[in-house]
């Protein structure tokens, strides 16, 4: 029985941070939506919105997928992935705005 509580304890502790993360995700989504609604555009606003998106995806990877608690290459798999579309999108938007 004592081993079982050992397993349960960290899982219970997972709920609260995930709820907080969920709240952060919702708030950032609303911010992104408001920026769109306000019709804001341009390179820096776009990159800010992209930054929010990458951060949100990172939160999902770390907390919801649970990669935070993993060792080695799999810990960084989402980060590495996000770097690919993140940098390419940045590059493309810099092209279209910088001319």
């Amino acid at each position: 029985m004592s081993t079982k509580t050992n397993i349960i304890q960290p899982n219970r502790q997972l709920i609260r941070p995930c709820t907080v993360v969920y709240g952060v995700l919702v708030v950032l989504t609303l911010v992104t939506w408001s920026i769109g609604r306000a019709g804001l555009g341009g390179l820096w606003v776009s990159l800010l919105v992209l930054g929010f998106a990458l951060f949100k995806a990172q939160l999902v990877g770390d907390w919801f997928m649970g990669l935070r608690d993993i060792r080695g290459i799999w810990r960084w798999v989402v980060v590495i992935w996000l770097a690919v579309p993140g940098s390419l999108i940045t590059l493309a938007f810099a092209f279209s705005h910088g001319g």
Partner: protein
């Protein structure tokens, strides 16, 4: 004191698994899927840089409000899935099944909203051949749409097994497998939403 702290840190480090939650095969699949989406996103961005005005013009015709609700639906479903995984780890199969079905329902809500958006577009005569923006918008969102369906099928299969008391604290890889896939579907939308609906 410091010694004890170091000791727990080290032990914690050793206890950390080297593999992500769920079956390794689903992670190979997730990686491949993520690569597809990454290429799709980059293609969108670069195609846009050539015709930014056209993209900005037609982006304004999209319904950002429904997209907001869809984002919230997916975020909420992902949160439900997290709760389902915790329940499974505690050995509470019935609770796990309830959370997972709630997540599936949220996925269903996403599909309904997205389908109504498509209906509006098609009623307006929009098609893949209308222009490059709509080509990308329809392709990207529809490709994601199909992933939501697949994710719901996987979650439903896991929920059914949980409902039959099929998992235990020692053996619940199936739940984590389905959860990992679903979070991927959510995560991809978190990039897709700002890229296609907001960034200009």
């Amino acid at each position: 004191m410091r010694g004890i702290l170091m000791d727990t840190v080290v032990r914690h480090e050793q206890a950390r698994p080297g593999y992500p939650p769920g079956d390794l095969a689903i992670w190979i699949f997730i990686l491949a899927e993520l690569l597809v989406f990454a290429i799709f996103f980059a293609a969108y961005a670069f195609a846009r840089s050539g015709q930014a005005e056209l993209f900005n013009h037609y982006q304004a015709t999209l319904n950002r409000d429904t997209a907001l609700f869809n984002t919230l639906a997916l975020l909420t479903s992902s949160y439900f899935v997290v709760r389902g995984v915790v329940a499974a780890r505690e050995g509470n199969n019935a609770l796990c099944a309830r959370w997972l079905w709630a997540a599936v329902a949220m996925g269903g809500l996403f599909l309904v909203i997205k389908a109504s958006e498509y209906a509006d577009h098609f009623a307006a005569g929009v098609s893949l051949s209308s222009n490059t923006f709509y080509m990308f918008y329809l392709s990207l969102t529809f490709f994601h749409f199909m992933h939501v369906i697949l994710g719901m099928v996987i979650l439903a299969a896991v929920a059914v097994k949980a409902g039959r008391d099929g998992y235990s604290p020692d053996d619940h890889t199936g739940v984590e497998t389905g959860a990992s896939y679903w979070h991927m579907v959510d995560m991809v939308w978190l990039i897709l939403f700002p890229l296609v609906y907001v960034m200009r």
